[in-house]
């Protein structure tokens, strides 16, 4: 029953993504001065939103684990972090490709890009850290503390780099940047699609983490024989 629901959600996410791809590629008008490359934004920005949600989930799950000491929260934390790393990677790669055309360079050390990269490094470090700890409860405890440190670090990194002038375009959704309502609608339509996909991946990853714990238990049992 559960896995059927999961498949259904995955299918729905795929359908939504295909429908959004159709809108993005064939229905939306051209941007005034960017050419076709601006269409990357419909994946770039929602990926960042999704990554942000995943990072928040990881934080909440880490704190909850430390309070409740229930390994379910640890499972959620690791799944959310892994999803976050995937979406941060997508954000970085798509952004870099867009920057190659719009700015003429793949990369620049401005506040947004650099904090994004540091964020990626921190959460990838979290995943590496987990592989180095054998005992499940020690692993959960230590990585939860590290996750909290990583989260606290992100805004500080942000401010530390902001003193250099920022090259990234102003956020399009609030304030300075302007965006055509039709495009904004497409942007907001792709976010729930990616979120749904992320939720499905999250559920799969959580199930996997539980299976992996079972495997660890079996390994110990087999070892003791």
């Amino acid at each position: 029953m559960r896995s059927k629901l999961l498949y259904a959600c995955g299918l729905l996410a795929a359908l939504l993504l295909v429908r959004n791809l159709y809108v993005v590629l064939l229905q939306l008008p051209d941007d005034a001065d960017q050419g076709a490359v601006y269409r990357i934004i419909f994946y770039h920005v929602p990926s960042w939103f999704t990554a942000g949600m995943a990072v928040l989930t990881a934080l909440v799950a880490s704190v909850a684990y430390l309070i409740r000491k229930d390994l379910w929260w640890d499972t959620l934390a690791v799944a959310a972090t892994e999803i976050a790393v995937v979406f941060i990677t997508i954000g970085l790669v798509t952004g870099s490709i867009w920057g190659r055309v719009a700015w003429g360079i793949w990369w620049t050390w401005d506040a947004r890009l650099t904090s994004a990269l540091v964020c990626w490094l921190l959460y990838a470090g979290y995943l590496v850290l987990r592989t180095a700890i054998e005992d499940p409860s020690a692993r959960a405890r230590i990585s939860a503390v590290f996750s909290i440190f990583a989260f606290a670090d992100i805004p500080i990194v942000w401010y530390s780099i902001e003193w250099f002038r920022t090259q990234h375009p102003a956020p399009v959704l609030r304030g300075e940047g302007y965006m055509d309502p039709q495009m904004k609608a497409a942007l907001y339509a792709n976010w729930p699609a990616l979120m749904l996909l992320a939720a499905v991946l999250l559920a799969v990853r959580m199930r996997q983490e539980a299976a992996r714990r079972e495997l660890d238990g079996l390994r110990r049992q087999a070892h003791s024989l």
Binding site: D31, A36, I40, I97, W98, L201, R212
Partner: protein, 51 residues
């Protein structure tokens, strides 16, 4: 559609899709490996128990 930068648009969109697909494939492969391993170990433990 405006053709300027269309190859880079293609790279951008396909990289997003490919990364997601690659992650999904890793998940599936990992899942399969874990289940095989669980199956194997369970058989091992049960065999030992019987003896």
């Amino acid at each position: 559609m405006d053709q300027r930068g269309i190859e880079f648009m293609f790279y951008g969109l396909s990289s997003a899709w490919l990364l997601l697909a690659a992650y999904a494939v890793t998940l599936v492969v990992r899942e399969r490996r874990i289940h095989e391993e669980i199956h194997r170990l369970r058989n091992l433990v049960e065999d030992r128990d019987r003896k």
